[in-house]
Symmetry: C2
């Protein structure tokens, strides 16, 4: 079905007999908020309110009206996408059978807690209302910690369809379904045919793309349908979808290069049927399905190249906490995993994920996940591994409560534990349907599908073919199928919008004097290059970086920026969306100012920093990242730091809610000499088993005469960072007690470092941390 | 509908087209277990297996077969009730469409964990099977602590109907529905038209009449229907029905003089619709409905004369524990209490029940119930009080999360808190439909029913009349109705059985010599009187009491029993069902034997003891009650205890699981002199907020020279007993430190006691006790 046809179908289904309704429609065009309010106030069933094309700034739309099933009231743009809603704006619904379509939310943020809300107040709730063919883009609060939602569901039978939503950086799920109150249970909401575009890593929790309920309403029947959506690079946190209520259904969605998983975090009896989990690279953050709680059915799903492990494995089945508190981890029971296909996934079935029995000395009893899955069946699945996997089932804790039946694997001859014959070897072949849909063929006819209780309710395969006759194990009955074109973006989201960006060659802007430096930066397009002629640039004011830009020396003889700016001001002021690459430049301060710093506040979007072949000397801070600023990557390579009071400072996220300032801090081939404190200080606070973040690599670098002012007598500080690798470095004559204190229980490693007169590297197995919950 | 008609309907509904099926039935009569097993083995759809009338002893029936909807396989008695199944016996089902009917379980117990079981093993489960027109009576294990169930549900669509079930004394619910495993969720079991006869108090927890699930399966959808049952004196514990799963329905049941409540202990979204809660006396243990968790609807119920308070109030809405562990108390949310009628109930609406914020010093944080009900609506109810009630809403904690709307009360002019007009005064009148169905009339037409969300789903009243037009608040739309005869026992249970016992005059048996004493006791009918001629009875063997019997002196000059029985043997050996009343008899021991004692074990049924106008002297124990023995009442009045090493000993329930040995220990107008220890020792151990038991009254009695051997230096020991009243006594020259240590937080009182040289009465607010959960 084409995107347009799909859209038509949805509209037809969601608003009823549109054509018939059209006959009695009154259409009024409004040009401003006043007119809009007036039109809404007098809206009758069948009315269409048309917003004139243009920018609507600071508009708070309370769409409060009552349509009918046959005659909804429609609020729409004059032409699809022609209305952009900007500034401090929102759209809230109350009433019945209302439709908003074709709107573009950008260049702004909501002044309330949500951009689109299916209620106006506790007593004014929406039922049978629809948002469709809309776009919400980068509509972020100014501060990362300020929580909001972009689409908030209340009531029953509301729909978000065919919309494109991307770019949320601040705290809070993109879409949340709320269930507080009888009006919002048994909601049967539809989240369908949307394109959830990139949601960048947040650097901490509360950045799901969809959250359905919360632990306090985790007992509630929800029946929310999430179907046929594309999730593209939804990297906000480890949970792409966090299902926290009962009877939700996830069908036919495509999870593409998305760093996280579909997680049944709370609630029970969800159906995860016929979804695609696709990873095009070796990115180990891309996950699959993570299971907590009871009664879920995971069937007909297709997993391609999922390299995630533990929390991020293709199928992660967690250990629970015995008699768990309501907001923690219930035991997994009565789960069925059947008729799925896994191609080239790393240990696709991981059981006992999250077990932390060995941390019982540092955690309270009510935090210990020791309850293994029980009454769980894994049957009729197919695994194909191009490279054999010694543990297709990885047991973090024993999978002794799991029944394996009629599963088949091509493991390239590598031996594995077969669970009483529940996983049989077969010489499968792959049939390529598309680049990332490769279907295993050749399941021996001797392998009969296991008929577990209620398995007869699994009537179709991934492609919708009937399993009634000649049923087969695996997600698909046959491999002889047309390309389902699941990554054709025109099938999802708004029909008038595309997120495909054409690549263009960067323009190089030559700069020879300090006076034209900021001017050329401002004039450059995002992605352009500023080329500095050799010479000394005496700069007294910060350079504002608010786009993707490369600044580099034109010649081998490196340009030199001597900065006389005020105390605590930086050479490079990193603004939201400011992604700076600096190459081959010498930076020299006055001992009181900074080389690089973010804004102190209002970092509403991410920055980024890559520095290579530079010298950085005589600053109060080489880099200072303030609270709530976040970069996906900060990289220093072949760069020398000399004579600074502080080095790389990323330790101001001290609320201990799991947040941190960059996902990847990478330091290679650098030298640090006479850096007094915060040589490297990168911090994540708060015990949170599900924020798996922070990556620090320090390699092939030399540290000398540094850390003397560090109160904790540690040269490299990275407390709470989960992934740390310190290797091939030289530490010499640093007046500290420890080079580094590594967190043994996590992925902290060190190797091949040369240490003299610099203390030692210590490994501490478990850290005591603040409990976040 | 008559009972027979009802039965017919049920059979028709449950087994399908019986008449059609009859045509192809093969009927085989079997006379013993062997024949039965053979018949079951070859049973085909439509077969009827007939058990010959008579006693079937030690028969373990595994009814493993497959009938069809139209042609079930029926196992039945030759004539209804003609087969009694005795000894170590059970009946277990596996398969489909099986029916067992007309059987009488008595004089025995199950050798397994259940008498009737809807599965044979984990893999052999029953679906669409029915037990109907059966009786289970006193089918108790030998020991109270031995846990079993009389009817255990597994699978789906099974039915227990038209059966009479009574007399369970040992640990374990009478009926339990299990939900472990996919096969047993969404079970839609039917428990209908049964007569649950008296279940005596157990003296501790785990004595529900029906339990549906447990905390570990509390997330599971159950959909069990409990409809049109009579619960008569179901006094086992505080929960008559303990609903622990989701979507259960309780409709049209009659709770009659039953000491306990229908409790939504775990699980959510239950419907409690059109039930009767009737109390014919001033018994304050008879309760109504107790609410925990979310989403329940309590509608169209009728409450008459419910005098219970707190846990036992007509409507008790509990406080929850914030983020409660799975097995404790979730917060109450989203509950609706609408269209109920309360006549002469004490503070029918109690909120914040179970709050224990003031015990935070003796309990862990995970035990503190501080989360008040939220999003809860109480609307359209009618209250009639013959005597005005200052607090129709009793707030143990604030009811600030509750919306009161359109409720009406006749409170006889007594002022009360009306919650913003949510409870209005009206001068209602009562119309008597029957002795305990009195319907308030005269609700002002100005009181419009409140239309809460989904209230339109309440389509009928208590009697099934449509609420579509001229709707009214209260359980009934009109008072001009015929007597529903809800207490006509022929409408419930097995059609061939009645539990109505004809009262008969007791026979008096004269006894003049010790030789005829035991002989006459043995020959007497239960309820008879043994009349002792004046004189001395030199007895050397215990008298065995295993029925209800009164032993009394024939003349004012009291008979005297001088007992030379062996060490540790009692004059009166209290056996199961031995209820002894002893009046005007002098008992004298040899210092090493006992006056009264239970069996050391095998107390499979309750005993009872009432002693008045007696002298008890020179015994090692005046009374010794062993572990697992239980009496509903033990009473001593106008009786003198002298020169005994031990007095009244009821403290052997030391497992601290909430059990104790008698519900009521009453001591009035007695004297205790030179009783060395255990003068009164009555113990309940284990912290359990829901076992509200133990009642001790010591009044108008005199204690002298006693307690000298008591290690804890306390004369009266009653640790853990919830209700204690010590009043109008004299304590003189007792070498102890404390007369008594009372539990201030519970219902422990003392007044008007005269104490000299006997220590003091101390009140301790909170006791530290073992946690049971």
């Amino acid at each position: 079905m084409t995107k347009a046809a799909l859209l038509l179908t949805v509209l037809f289904l969601s608003v009823g007999c549109k054509e018939k309704a059209a006959k009695s429609m009154a259409s009024s065009t409004v040009a401003n908020a006043e007119g809009l309010n007036a039109a809404i106030k007098k809206a009758e069933p069948g009315d269409v309110i048309v917003m004139s094309n243009g920018v609507w700034k600071d508009v708070e739309i309370k769409f409060r009206a009552k349509g009918t099933k046959d005659q909804p009231i429609i609020l729409k743009a004059e032409t699809a996408g022609g209305v952009s809603i900007e500034g401090a704006s929102y759209l809230k619904f109350a009433g019945e059978y209302l439709v908003a379509e074709d709107l573009h939310f950008k260049n702004g943020h909501t002044p309330s807690k949500s951009v689109i809300d299916f209620r106006i107040s506790e007593d004014e709730i929406a039922f049978n209302c629809t948002v469709t063919n809309c776009v919400i883009e980068d509509f972020n609060q100014m501060h990362r910690d300020e929580t909001d939602l972009w689409v908030q569901f209340w009531g029953r039978h509301n729909t978000l369809s065919n919309s494109y939503i991307a770019g949320k950086t601040n705290r809070g799920p993109t879409v949340r379904v709320n269930l507080e109150g009888i009006e919002s249970m048994n909601n049967y909401h539809q989240i369908v045919n949307n394109h959830f575009g990139p949601r960048p890593r947040k650097g901490g929790a509360s950045a799901e793309t969809i959250q359905i309920g919360n632990s306090f309403t985790s007992m509630a029947p929800s029946y929310t349908m999430v179907e046929n959506n594309l999730f593209e690079e939804c990297n906000g946190e480890v949970e792409i979808i966090s299902s926290k209520t009962n009877f939700n259904e996830f069908r036919g969605n495509v999870f593409y290069n998305s760093e996280g998983s579909l997680v049944t975090r709370h609630g029970n009896y969800c159906t995860i049927d016929g979804n695609y989990f696709i990873n095009d690279s070796n990115n180990t953050n891309v996950g699959g399905i993570r299971i907590v709680n009871s009664g879920h059915w995971v069937i007909n799903n297709y997993f391609f190249n999922i390299k995630g492990e533990k929390f991020r494995s293709a199928l992660a089945v967690m250990n629970g906490i015995p008699k768990s508190p309501q907001n923690r981890y219930n035991q997994v029971t009565d789960v069925v995993v059947a008729y799925n296909t896994y191609v080239d996934c790393v240990s696709p079935w991981q059981f006992g994920v999250g077990t932390n029995i060995d941390q019982k000395d540092v955690l309270p009893k009510s935090e210990i996940r020791s309850a293994r899955p029980i009454r769980t069946t894994v049957a009729n699945n197919v695994i194909y591994n191009e490279v054999g996997d010694p543990s297709p089932v990885f047991e973090h804790d024993k999978a002794d409560g799991v029944l394996f039946k009629s599963n088949v694997i091509n493991n390239q001859g590598v031996a594995f534990k077969d669970f009483d014959g529940g996983i049989q070897v077969a010489s499968l072949e792959l049939k390529e349907i598309s680049k990332n849909i490769m279907l295993p063929t050749g399941v021996p006819s001797s392998v009969e599908p296991y008929e577990g209780f209620d398995f007869n309710t699994i009537t179709k395969d991934l492609f919708g073919n009937s399993r009634a006759n000649n049923n087969m194990i695996g997600a698909t009955l046959k491999a002889d199928v047309p390309n389902p074109n699941i990554l054709d973006k025109t099938k999802y989201g708004a029909d008038w919008y595309s997120n495909v960006v054409e690549t263009k060659e960067p323009t190089t802007h030559a700069v020879a004097s300090v006076s034209e430096l900021q001017q050329k930066i401002d004039a450059a397009a995002s992605g352009d290059i500023i080329s500095l002629a050799t010479g000394v640039y005496e700069l007294d004011k910060s350079l504002k970086i608010n786009k993707t830009i490369t600044i580099q020396s034109a010649a081998d003889d490196r340009a030199q920026i001597v900065f006389s700016g005020a105390v605590e001001t930086p050479v490079f002021e990193l603004n939201p969306k400011g992604l700076l690459t600096l190459n081959g430049v010498v930076l020299k301060g006055n001992g009181e100012n900074y080389a690089f710093a973010t804004l102190k506040e209002n970092m509403s979007n991410h920055f980024g920093l890559t520095v290579s072949n530079c010298d950085v000397s005589d600053f109060a801070y080489a880099l200072r990242v303030y609270r709530e600023a976040y970069a996906e990557k900060i990289t220093f390579t072949k760069t020398a730091f000399d004579n600074c009071e502080n080095g790389l400072e990323l330790s101001e996220e001290t609320l201990d809610k799991g947040d941190y300032n960059t996902e990847y801090l990478t330091i290679t081939d650098c030298t640090f000499n006479n850096i007094k404190q915060n040589v490297v200080d990168y911090y994540r606070g708060g015990y949170d088993e599900s924020t798996i973040g922070g990556n620090l690599l320090i390699a092939n670098s030399t540290f000398t005469n540094s850390g003397g002012h560090e109160k904790n007598k540690t040269l490299l500080n990275h407390r709470g960072i989960v992934n740390v690798n310190i290797k091939d470095n030289t530490f010499k004559n640093n007046p500290v007690k420890f080079v580094s204190v590594l967190w043994g229980a996590k992925n902290n490693e060190h190797s091949n470092n040369t240490i003299s007169h610099s203390g030692e590297i210590k490994v501490q197995e478990n850290l005591e941390m603040t409990l976040m919950y």
